[in-house]
């Protein structure tokens, strides 16, 4: 058990790296107004949507890529990306998921996401929207959810069926020019999920979206919008995987959440995009803007993320706490290995009175990776009685990984309270030796240490996914020992 075996521990093959061979409808490479018009036309979008996109594109052209994240990558050639790619369909419109190309159904099945009618009976508590490259393949349990008044479909479909809702809320949390990647997304977004929970309704099942990038040259520009009206409640989970390519693919997403009075939205992510190989070749650039608006009084938005994949992760799921007594939460596990880089955290913006926020962040860095927590807590001048509690813990595995914490606090109100705690620990030789001396293998030791370290966050995940996520963490660190 030398330090080299500690290094071996953190290598494991990526199990979702296969490519599905299908015919696609792919538009030409590059980005200009015509491309944006083409995407909008392909999706048969209402006029307001095209205007939204073009406005975003104009802003994006004037912006520059942010340089402040603690990550490094070669310049991205935005003219070399394909902005839309969809599996070819034999029919204009599919009547049911069972009509989807069997190769695609099989892909999702291999990923553990059965979509076909009989297969998904086994998992009756979770409705799934499956997104393959640029388009949604289909959404399960639509009818059942419909009976409760819940709308759960792809955003493309929402633009056809409920354009007024999309128009009312899209871009209200993350404006088109919010930041470089959000502007790009607003111009070219392809698909994502749309959730609407009407007043007083508690969503009868977990909702989830599974994102799959298949094409090696396509960027995925996910756009998700979740609205919970007064007193509504929903729990939503997204999962992500991609094949192993030597090149990097861009996933630039925007997610907007809106909670009205007394509404409650829980949003969980298990991100396992391809991370590149041990030398840092390939992998997804995961540049994401996620923000929730606690618009109403007593509303609550809770983000839980388990970030294990991607070559680079840049994301700060945030809460804007406008309604008095509203609550924002951020629970995060970010695991980096090999040459992965993560710069992730949250922003809690307290505007209303007695607003409360909690931040629990667990960063695990192994190999030669870089893992940074970056967070902002802002107490506005009217946020009397507001409180924040932040805890940021880092765990290092081996001697070559890097962990950083960048907490920013901005308090414009002396009747608000901010508490911050941080720690750094290391899985060192002596800890592993203690386990080994009691007969416990290195792999088991690391997995016990890591799940112990992450317990507070794993407990926040919906039951169905907590065990999976825990397993995923171990897998990510599993070595070729023995």
């Amino acid at each position: 058990m030398s330090s080299t075996t500690v290094k071996n521990l953190v290598n494991q093959p990526y199990k979702y790296g296969f490519v599905t061979d299908i015919e696609t409808d792919t538009i030409p490479r590059g980005l200009n107004e015509d491309i944006i018009r083409l995407i909008s036309a392909k999706k048969n979008e209402p006029e307001f949507m095209l205007e939204f996109r073009l406005k975003a594109y104009k802003q994006w052209q004037k912006m520059t890529e942010p340089k402040w994240p603690h990550v490094e990558y070669p310049p991205i050639d935005y003219q070399d990306i394909i902005y839309y790619s969809a599996p070819k369909q034999s029919k204009e419109k599919l009547n049911s998921l069972d009509e989807v190309d069997p190769a695609i159904l099989e892909t999702f099945e291999k990923l553990g996401i059965p979509l076909s009618e009989q297969k998904r009976l086994a998992n009756v508590n979770v409705a799934v929207d499956a997104i393959f490259d640029s388009v949604s393949i289909g959404t399960t349990f639509k009818e059942k959810l419909g009976e409760a008044g819940v709308i759960f479909c792809s955003i493309s479909e929402a633009l056809q069926e409920h354009p007024e809702l999309v128009k009312k809320y899209l871009g209200t949390v993350v404006p088109v020019g919010d930041n470089y990647f959000a502007a790009l997304n607003s111009a070219v977004f392809s698909d994502g999920s749309f959730v609407f929970i009407p007043k007083g309704v508690e969503c009868p099942m977990e909702l989830s979206t599974y994102f799959r990038i298949n094409n090696g040259d396509t960027g995925q520009f996910e756009r998700t919008l979740i609205i919970a009206e007064e007193g509504a409640k929903v729990s939503y989970l997204e999962g992500c995987t991609a094949p192993m390519y030597d090149s990097n693919q861009l996933h630039a997403a925007v997610v907007e959440l809106i909670a009205l009075d007394n509404a409650d939205i829980k949003y969980s992510t298990v991100q396992n995009w391809y991370a590149g190989d041990e030398n840092g070749k390939g992998g997804i650039y995961n540049f994401v803007t996620k923000r929730g608006l606690c618009q109403g009084v007593n509303s609550k938005i809770s983000w839980t993320q388990v970030e294990t994949g991607s070559a680079i992760t840049w994301k700060y799921p945030s809460c804007v706490l406008i309604g008095d007594n509203s609550v924002g939460e951020f629970y995060s596990i970010a695991l980096t290995n090999n040459k992965q880089q993560a710069d992730t955290g949250t922003k809690m913006i307290h505007i209303g009175k007695n607003t409360r926020s909690t931040i629990i962040s667990k960063g695990i860095s192994a190999g030669k990776s870089k893992n940074s927590y970056r967070g902002l807590v802002k107490m506005g001048p009217k946020a009397d009685g507001a409180r924040n509690y932040s805890q940021c813990d880092s765990m290092l595995i081996g001697d070559t990984a890097e962990a950083n914490t960048f907490p920013y606090i901005q308090a414009d109100n002396d009747r608000a309270k901010v508490e911050h705690e941080a720690s750094t620990s290391k899985i060192g030789e002596d800890q592993l030796f203690y386990f080994a001396q009691r007969g416990i293998s290195e792999e088991d030791a690391v997995s016990m240490l890591v799940s112990g370290f992450c317990k507070d966050v794993l407990n926040e995940l919906p039951m169905e996914f907590a065990a999976e996520a825990d397993k995923l963490l171990s897998l990510k660190l599993e070595g070729s020992v023995g």
Partner: protein, 256 residues
């Protein structure tokens, strides 16, 4: 004649290029208790960690035979599962891993190693209750993170709890008595005695003759600069207590 459990031959070991063990010899038979005494820094803990296979130490010469077989090539977890147990001088704190989970995984690792079926949570809890009794430990310690925030004495007791559970053939207690109050010392010593059988052996590293009133050693060794320079019976410990280590200095000088 009883079986030889441990045979250490001319053992040399170094850390970061510095030689600490300089030709150590020791033989232990089944059923025997050996005490090792010696000045701070003489290499006692080093010896115990080398026996257990700590990766930071490099064995540069000699051999360690355990039950007749060299264990130098064996990984630390393998040695542990073969029945070598080290109660650490400074047990490490492991946040986030509950004492109970740790004990269960360790216990099952050993069972698995020996081709036995793992035991379930309920049966295991019964077993642990029984073992808690040996060291008179409060069950509330099971729910806490391993060693985290434990007092010095509680950590030592927890080490003996693990030993009671894992039933090793060779236990090495590295200053388990240091930091124990008088009652705890008696409880730990009684625990150790209770676990002694004619088949297993122990090495008790200590600075104080006091412990040896409770745990009767068959042999007492004095370690000096990485070697065992004198071996005697219980009386040697008494003599050391009276005269200090200076007479060992003289002895070494005369020998040189």
């Amino acid at each position: 004649m009883s079986e030889v459990i441990l045979s250490v031959k001319d053992l040399r070991a170094s850390i970061d290029g510095k030689e600490i063990l300089k030709g150590l010899n020791l033989e232990i038979k089944a059923g025997e208790v050996h005490a090792i005494m010696g000045r701070n820094g003489s290499g006692k803990s080093t010896f115990s960690k080398v026996l257990a296979g700590h990766p930071a130490y490099e064995v540069t010469g000699g051999d360690i035979l355990y039950k007749g077989e060299s264990i130098l090539e064996k990984e630390p977890d393998e040695r542990a599962n073969e029945g070598i147990f080290l109660a650490f001088q400074y047990p490490i704190e492991i946040p986030g891993v509950s004492n109970l989970d740790f004990l269960r995984v360790a216990y099952n690792a050993k069972r698995k190693y020996h081709g036995e079926e793992e035991i379930d949570t309920f049966d295991f809890e019964d077993l642990v209750e029984e073992k808690l009794d040996v060291v008179k430990m409060n069950p509330s310690f099971l729910e806490r993170s391993l060693n985290q925030g434990f007092s010095g004495g509680e950590k030592k007791r927890n080490e003996i709890l693990q030993m009671a559970l894992l039933e090793p053939s060779l236990s090495i207690l590295d200053e388990t008595d240091s930091g124990l109050d008088i009652d705890a010392l008696r409880i730990v010593a009684e625990g150790v005695n209770q676990l002694a059988t004619p088949e297993n052996s122990s090495i008790v590293i200590t600075h104080y003759q006091r412990l040896l009133n409770y745990i009767e050693p068959h042999f007492v060794h004095v370690m000096y600069d990485g070697q065992i320079v004198k071996t005697g019976t219980k009386e040697l410990a008494l003599e050391l207590e009276e005269r200090g280590y200076e007479f060992i200095d003289e002895l070494v000088e005369v020998g040189a």
